[in-house]
Amino acid sequence: MAAETRIDPMHQFQISPLLGNLDGSPFVFTTSALWMLVILALIWLFMMGGMKRALVPGRWQVAVEGVTGFVDSMLSTSVGPEGRRFLPWVFTIFMFILTANLLGLMPFALVGVHPFTVTSQFTITGVMAIMSFSIVLITGFWRHGFHFFSLFVPHGTPFALKLLIVPIEFISFMVRPFSLATRLFVAMIAGHILVEVFANFVVQGLNAGGLVGPGISLVAFIFIIGVMALEVLVCAIQAYVFALLTSLYINDAVNLH
């Protein structure tokens, strides 16, 4: 019995079409698109509820002001006074990643809805990372022209060392969008696989019966509670890290060392 039920932790990341089919037209309304719309609606509701400009703010307005103030202070400490011009983009990715990560953890399966973590797809995180990277490139070349390439040459390096350092700096610069995207989607996938595997242990332990089975289920269930708490932390940290690294890269482009 227990040997037949094979754990398939990758099934939850599959995208299924809701309208149209996947091999036909390139414009298909998928589960991923549906969850992105849900995220958009949630962020819109959150922002609309708090943007009131009341002199004595209510709870909701304090929450919204807290989030915007947090991203704003992060940008101004890492970029400087000019960082506020990039606030729309950094705030957008921070809110999108945070909402998507937390929404993917919600136990909607209790009411029969299969939650889908949008940020567990490399296409989504890759597009966001490429957009951050192009903002860095455009800003750098716009403000400094070809002087932007001095980013690869640290000040006061001897010539012999420059031959070594410039290629290393160039590679570490070019690998940035890849590392930015990979960090987010792998962290999400790893957490969901961990939860899925241990949730399977609970079910299989109950199915096995006897004395040992339910005991193993109980241990796995307690473990899942701890892992879920850790996952909520990871969701917030990953959103913070993505926004923080984006603002650091923007700082490189604006201030050139």
């Binding site: 960090r183 792998v186 923080l244 650091l248």
Partner: protein, 74 residues
């Protein structure tokens, strides 16, 4: 040894890197805490650097996970 079992063993070996990254992440936070207790006034200003170090250390562990998944499923 057939290919399927060799794949599993390879994925398991690749997962060792995740443990190594755990040492790195623990080192980042441990060192931060050690110095933050000595000078609590300066700790808040270094929070950004703390998370940069965390992100760099964590990325390598996640890369090990990616390698393990690629060995298993590709």
């Amino acid at each position: 040894m057939d290919l399927a079992s060799a794949k599993m063993i390879g994925a398991g070996l690749a997962a060792i890197g995740v443990g190594a990254a755990a040492i790195g992440v623990g080192n980042v936070f441990g060192s931060f805490l050690e110095s933050a207790i000595r000078n609590p006034a300066a700790a808040d200003g270094q929070q950004g650097r703390l998370f940069i170090g965390f992100a760099a250390a964590e990325l390598l562990g996640l890369m090990a996970f990616v390698v393990a998944m690629m060995v298993m499923f590709m």
